[in-house]
Symmetry: C2
Subunit: 221 residues, 2 copies
Amino acid sequence: MCEDLQMAPRDSAGKTLADYPRPSVAVDTAVLTVRDGRLCVVLVEDGRRLPGTFLHEGETLADAVDRALLTKAGLRGEHPTQLHVFDDPGRDERGWVLSVAHLVAVPALRLEELPAGVVLTRVTGVGTLDFDHNQILDLAVERLRADYRYRPDPGALLDEPFTLRELQHLHEGVAGQRLMRDTFRRRMEPQLVATGDYHRGSVGMPARTFVRPRDEIRAER
Amino acid sequence: MCEDLQMAPRDSAGKTLADYPRPSVAVDTAVLTVRDGRLCVVLVEDGRRLPGTFLHEGETLADAVDRALLTKAGLRGEHPTQLHVFDDPGRDERGWVLSVAHLVAVPALRLEELPAGVVLTRVTGVGTLDFDHNQILDLAVERLRADYRYRPDPGALLDEPFTLRELQHLHEGVAGQRLMRDTFRRRMEPQLVATGDYHRGSVGMPARTFVRPRDEIRAER
DNA sequence: CAAATAGTGTCTTTTAGACACTATTCG
DNA sequence: CGAATAGTGTCTAAAAGACACTATTTG
């Protein structure tokens, strides 16, 4: 044990890492989706907070996010995007806790059945959340909107293949406003790969279907 | 002491925060400037790494950055922008260390005299740095370029008042390429406040001088 | 006056917005 | 056929790129 200390690397003050107090590090994640044309977020603890957990030793932040989503919301295989570290020393009354905010986009179909206490809420109808989770949510929404502004479906929210109409409906949900059909088509069509197949709706001319280009998957930054 | 444990808030597993191992959290900062028309970065340890330090208890990340810049590079009163958390469990051989990368822009005039071991190096000439500091530097450069793309001087790198020529020269340094005079002027002039005064260079027509609009300061995101 | 820099005008190309028209399908 | 949706063309307005011309100063 004494040897351990002797061997441990020392910094410029001659101290080892163990000599400094360390913060707890949490990850909190805004899981966003578009359901019925509205942007929604997964909340736990009966709608009071975002799913989160403490970072474990030897684990990456992304792994901690995945673990939190699996244990708290029953979701697996997501691809979190890191947003920001919230570091106000008084943000958590339990002690010194940093929170690394994350964003995950999940197709609404995968959020049909949620564990008890977990709810899917429209982002416009979210009340006051615990800690600084309202701030995290705002940041996540802003980021998702920025990601969708110029790309078809960086979060892979749509099942392939999809029509331009379905894609535009998704975008309108994310943006929270109507979009112009002509401009939308001009912007998105060059970034999509046509399947050659058609989708037949209830009425109207059949629509071409598309898939995401192979290199666009997970370019969510 | 037993009471302490009794009183401490517990999580869903009935454990207190103290029961979990915690990582050390460092801040590492790319201090960027434009000197002689070239984008440069402040390196410590004889050019091997970015200035950084460990986060202290009760301190914000921004405060830790300021402390690191003061003690390692003699800089004070900066406004760090948070970039990203680097969390590879093996990134620091000393142990479990997360690094929160930051960006700070500093006018070249304030970097004329640096402590021993601290150097100002062109970003194009930076070799292999310790840890993942090359990644942090790349991210910082990318971010500074994005910040300057559509705004006159979000990092307050220029002394006021300045001419459009001086501003364009700064932008060319940040971007690492020449810019078109007409387009640059059209983009920037509406975002500047004319002083009404003129700057007289060695030859040529006197140039109008400008200051940043009051609300642009520290809009670096 | 020549060189250098600042300021302005304008032509073209590109892009975005707005709208109209045609095409195909279902009930 | 009529309503609904898809696909396409085109006019206009705004922005960006490219270039030219005028204005003012120093040496």
